[in-house]
Point group: C2
Chain length 228, copies 2
């Protein structure tokens, strides 16, 4: 296959370009004082339900969150998130299985970042493609539902390794699926040592206080960290 | 972005090459009288559990199944499937989010296809990447668990549109997650009209008889269909 080295070369150019755009975005976010969290997971892990609760809680505290949400097709997720009253924009990727920094840049064109405290970027549901694309975020959050099985961190090590925090979702179903927490946590720590892990249920609200406290603390420490 | 057209071109070459290898594989499978089913789904939808039960049931009927299983890392799935006593081989894809026909070709090198009745190919857990890669299979099966939400066919139309049959898994959890069967089926039919859909639980065995009957019927009609 002669085409192999050429793909690698093109891919590296794309990634290099993405890194440059992401770096500029990160600087812009910092200057505007907005804390940016990206969310990655497999399809159906519960990103949108978790994010809707998060947006609603932040709004209740008079904070100013917004969200960008990536999908191949449909704008269902944006409609669901908009119920929180936060500004939401859908990014439709067509056949592309991840978001890129340039898409974020473009989606933000009409927004004034100075008017935001938090920006959430919900990536396309995929445990592989999003891993190499920096979106300028402060925090990358990987979600894993109790129904997916304990082995996912070992099977998709790159995405878990590049995440800053893991959120185990649908914890209300833990018993029904005989979820093994100790095994899951061990697998998470095996691919990413000392990764903070929060167990939540968007349905019952369990763990959401802990998550909000984590988010507040992470955004405070970002304020003190110089970037460039 | 000047690199854009170049990526498309390279990708088309890769796909063209894949199609050629897949065509040769399909002919080989036909000549050997082996019926080939590929399985695609998001991570954690239950491909391996479903496949383990399928292999075991086929073995009980004195049929000769085998399986190839793709993963980025680990050989856990191959170890699980091997409990069925069927021949199983793991294909480790590294960072690649799908299997390609050439990987199947290589993995089959040491096997005598004449000694098999069924070959199952479990793709990497991903609802995007595998859609464009023909593996020479007779039947592409897409799995969707009740815990993933009813909207997945609309959000990942390409993979559902290229599938021949849908299997809804973890049906034992349907009540706990308030699964809406009518909505799911409507969404499946919207992207792929007249798609057969089978509801199963690998845990309780529900629906497995129906699946085995479907498989037997599909393999019989393949015998009568000339290919080339």
């Amino acid at each position: 296959m002669n085409s192999k080295p050429r793909i690698v070369e093109v891919r590296q150019n794309v990634l290099k370009h993405n890194d440059e755009v992401a770096r500029a975005l990160r600087q812009r976010f910092h200057n505007a004082g907005v804390f940016v969290v990206s969310l990655v997971s497999s399809p159906g892990a519960g990103k949108t339900a978790f994010l809707e609760k998060t947006l609603t809680r932040l709004k209740q505290r008079d904070l100013r969150p917004a969200a960008l949400v990536g999908d191949l097709a449909t704008d269902h997720d944006a409609a669901r998130l908009a119920r929180s009253q936060a500004p939401v924009k859908q990014i439709t990727t067509g056949t592309l299985c991840h978001l890129e920094a340039a898409m974020i840049q473009q989606a933000l064109e009409e927004w004034n970042l100075e008017e935001l405290d938090f920006l959430f970027i919900e990536n396309v549901g995929n445990l592989v493609c999003p891993s190499s694309y920096d979106l300028g975020e402060n925090l990358r959050l990987v979600l894993l539902s109790v129904t997916e099985g304990e082995d996912k961190p070992l099977k998709y090590p790159t995405i878990f390794n590049t995440a800053d925090v893991a959120v185990v979702t649908k914890i209300d179903l833990a018993e029904a699926v005989e979820f093994n927490w100790a095994q899951t946590n061990a697998n998470l720590q095996a691919v990413r040592r000392d990764m903070p892990v929060i167990q939540v249920s968007a349905k019952t609200g369990q763990g959401m206080d802990e998550w909000m406290a984590f988010l507040a603390s992470a955004s405070r420490s970002a304020d003190r960290t110089p970037r460039g």
